[in-house]
């Protein structure tokens, strides 16, 4: 891949690939629409209400050849945070910096001469869950892989382009490469389509890829294969990943193998962050503990013994993101919530930025939490 000069980093400094500081994202419905439709309809559509706080005051850093997994349920804000990280969504407040440069400033041309919006867009790529939606059904794999190269490297000649695509297919185990290049998406299996989508993002040699639920739609037995591909590509190209998942077993696999971190999200907040080992074997936040409890064991005896376990959650209703609970957002569901949790919102505590931290007063042995009454008439255990 030495035939072109594309693999040079645009900016070479000591700043992290990406850093997010106090990022919040709110969605507000357009009130002008709410004005022209009847109130009953507006109410049914949920219009004109309070904004949705999809992400609330999140800070996160992603380094060189790093992996950060965002895990959470639907509505936790993990996808919104991911999209904000790569500049597809503007933060309502806070800043997102690529190698120390604020992405919004770069887009406004404030760093012209050093860094342009196009550089940032090329450096931060995305791979989606649904490869069917990402690939054009009417075009061959060759033409779909050539497209981003034509767009970003218009000076690259045909031979270089073809060589680059074929080399990438071969190195990622898609062989015979020449045969695959002439196929259409419907002639590929789900796993192969996801490979192509990953290769297409990787051809631009980005610094960071947002991998948004890239293995969720695949057969369980293919998930390891795709995660291994991402890890192999990381080794070859030094790419960092922001990997979004709702599944703790997948999160643990890729974070552990890459020596990365897992950040657990709940209702727009990161409630715990740490290494795979720390999150799986020593979860601190009650929500992380509940996620671990809910992860199904492979051992059928253990599975049968635990299938009738009552849920340790105090409420099965998902909270309303327009009107999040006061204090700690997890308190209505938390089996260990005390009075103080209904009033005060805990920050991530327990260490430095890159250490194991959880947003729970239980991590502070001298906190007033311990003198505060349980809101459920006593703490409940979370079976682990």
């Amino acid at each position: 891949m030495s035939t072109t000069d594309t693999d040079e980093d645009v900016i070479d400094n000591d700043e992290p690939v990406l850093s997010m500081e106090n990022v919040s994202v709110e969605y507000q419905d357009e009130s002008i629409l709410a004005d022209v439709i009847p109130e009953s309809v507006a109410e049914r559509l949920g219009m004109g209400e309070d904004p949705v706080h999809a992400v609330d005051d999140v800070s996160l850093e992603i380094g060189e050849e790093d992996v950060v997994v965002l895990i959470g349920e639907s509505g936790s804000g993990k996808t919104t945070l991911g999209r904000t990280a790569i500049g597809l969504q503007d933060p309502t407040s806070g800043s997102v910096k690529y190698r120390g440069y604020d992405i919004e400033d770069v887009e406004r041309g404030e760093h012209a001469g050093e860094l342009y919006a196009e550089d940032v867009r090329r450096a931060l790529q995305i791979v989606h869950q649904d490869s069917d939606a990402a690939l054009n059904p009417y075009r061959t794999i060759r033409s779909q892989l050539a497209e981003p190269l034509k767009l970003w490297y218009p000076d690259m000649d045909l031979n270089d382009r073809q060589e680059r695509i074929a080399t990438m297919l071969r190195t990622t185990g898609v062989t015979p490469a020449e045969d695959y290049m002439e196929r259409y998406p419907h002639e590929l299996s789900g796993g192969e389509k996801q490979r192509v989508a990953i290769i297409r993002a990787m051809l631009l040699e980005p610094d960071l890829i947002l991998a948004d639920e890239v293995v969720s739609a695949l057969d369980v037995s293919l998930r390891i294969e795709i995660m291994d591909l991402l890890l192999d590509l990381q080794e070859m190209f030094g790419t960092s990943y922001l990997f979004v998942s709702h599944n703790l077993t997948n999160a643990r696999y890729i974070a552990d193998k890459a020596d990365g971190r897992i950040a657990v999200m709940y209702l727009g907040r990161i409630v715990e962050v740490g290494s795979a080992e720390e999150i799986i074997n020593d979860p601190k936040h009650p929500y992380t503990q509940i996620l671990k409890w809910a992860s199904l064991p492979l051992d059928p005896d253990e599975a049968r013994e635990t299938i009738t376990d009552e849920s340790p959650m105090m409420s099965e209703d998902a909270p309303d993101p327009r009107n999040p609970p006061s204090g700690c957002r997890f308190h209505p569901t938390c089996p260990k919530a005390h009075e103080v949790c209904t009033e005060v919102d805990p920050d991530l505590i327990g260490g430095e930025v890159r250490e194991h931290r959880a947003a729970c007063f239980r991590e502070d042995s001298t906190h007033e939490y311990w003198d505060s009454e349980s809101i459920h008439g006593g703490d409940r255990e979370i079976p682990l």
Binding site: S221, D228, H246, A303, R304
Partner: protein
């Protein structure tokens, strides 16, 4: 936990077959040739049992579910026999039923809740209408039927007064999935088939649905068939487990035996490729090679191209599914070698 608690509740001699599948084959004529998407399957489903079926996409597991109701879509051709044994009545050959009889069998005797719960309700009608129309299409008493529907919904942790008046888009994924299970049960079928019952659900909802399904199975006296590509989804509550590979069963037995003493190399590879928290990340491995093509089924054992212990015999002869230990069938010439050479670790204490 004692073994007897885990195994099928009744002793073997009392096992009573409710569905008997013999040499079931489904073929499609395609421009590339004939696709064989179910390949000569023999299987007995026992009355009152919970049977799990696992396999990769395209292994034939959903096709198998369709054949049980003679619901293979045109232009697919089903050959072989499927016999249904109603309690205290004459057996019925499902493949010979016509029109109204097929329709009657399909909801009143055998009900299927498919994956893709998103598309199963008509978006323009409230949930209640689906229950009412199902009851009236089968000439069932509407009042008694709706009472039953409400009771089933409560058992599934749904508030019927709230859910029945809503449209599908107003329900969460978990509510929609449970409402579909309730609809499948409203005509009191003898057999309920659940195809990927927790697909696309969040972790916590998946866990809660599995508990509800387990309780439903205990509460309603039904035969339950659960299909999934995700082994841990079924392993906690099925009595028996069938593993499908390349359009046929390669292993079948009590769940405990199949998982702790899996004898087919594919079964063992499938367990090792399932992401889980008990194994070390380096012990979790992919299954090498590509999935089988229904048009060019290889000669010999269909798993032989991917099998680490296959030898010449495996590429020539196709092993039948035979009883290798009590109530444990496997389609492999070398089950002992598979156990010795392909270690699987199911829990942190387990070193097998």
């Amino acid at each position: 936990m004692s073994e007897s608690e885990f195994a099928t509740d009744r002793p073997q001699e009392e096992r009573d077959t409710i569905l008997e599948v013999r040499d079931a084959t489904v073929t499609y004529e395609m421009s590339r040739g004939q696709a064989r998407v179910l390949n000569g399957v023999d299987l007995d489903v026992y009355r009152g049992e919970t049977l799990g079926i696992v396999g990769e996409s395209g292994s034939g597991k959903s096709m198998f579910a369709s054949t049980l109701m003679d619901a293979v879509e045109e232009p697919g051709l089903l050959q072989g026999s499927i016999t249904y044994y109603p309690e205290g009545a004459d057996p019925v050959e499902i493949t010979e039923l016509e029109g109204g009889d097929t329709r009657r069998l399909r909801w009143e005797e055998i009900a299927l809740v498919s994956q893709g719960a998103m598309s199963a309700f008509n978006p323009t009608k409230p949930i209640r209408t689906h229950f009412e129309e199902t009851l009236s299409a089968h000439n069932a008493d509407k009042d008694a039927g709706m009472d039953r529907a409400r009771s089933i919904m409560r058992d599934l942790n749904l508030d019927p007064e709230n859910i029945l008046d809503q449209y599908q888009h107003e329900l969460s994924g978990g509510q929609r999935q449970r409402a579909l299970v309730a609809l499948g049960l409203v005509l009191e079928p003898e057999v309920l088939i659940l195809d990927e019952p927790t697909a696309a659900l969040d972790l916590l909802m998946q866990r809660s649905i599995l508990r509800l399904l387990y309780n439903i199975k205990e509460e309603y006296d039904i035969t339950l068939i659960v299909i999934s590509h995700d082994l841990p989804v079924v392993s906690g509550f099925v009595d028996r487990l069938g593993v499908m590979y390349a359009f046929e069963f390669v292993e079948l037995g009590e769940t405990r035996d199949v998982m702790h003493e899996g004898a087919h190399p594919y079964t063992r590879a499938l367990m090792r490729s399932t992401p889980n928290l008990a194994m070390g990340v380096d012990e979790i491995t992919t299954i090498e090679g590509s999935t089988p093509d229904p048009i060019n089924i290889v000669s010999g054992c269909s798993y032989s191209p991917r099998c680490p212990i296959a030898d010449d015999r495996c590429t020539i002869e196709d092993p039948d599914l035979i009883e290798f230990e009590d109530d444990h069938d496997v389609a492999c010439f070398y089950p002992d070698e598979a156990r010795d050479e392909l270690p699987v670790k199911l829990s942190q204490e387990d070193s097998k």
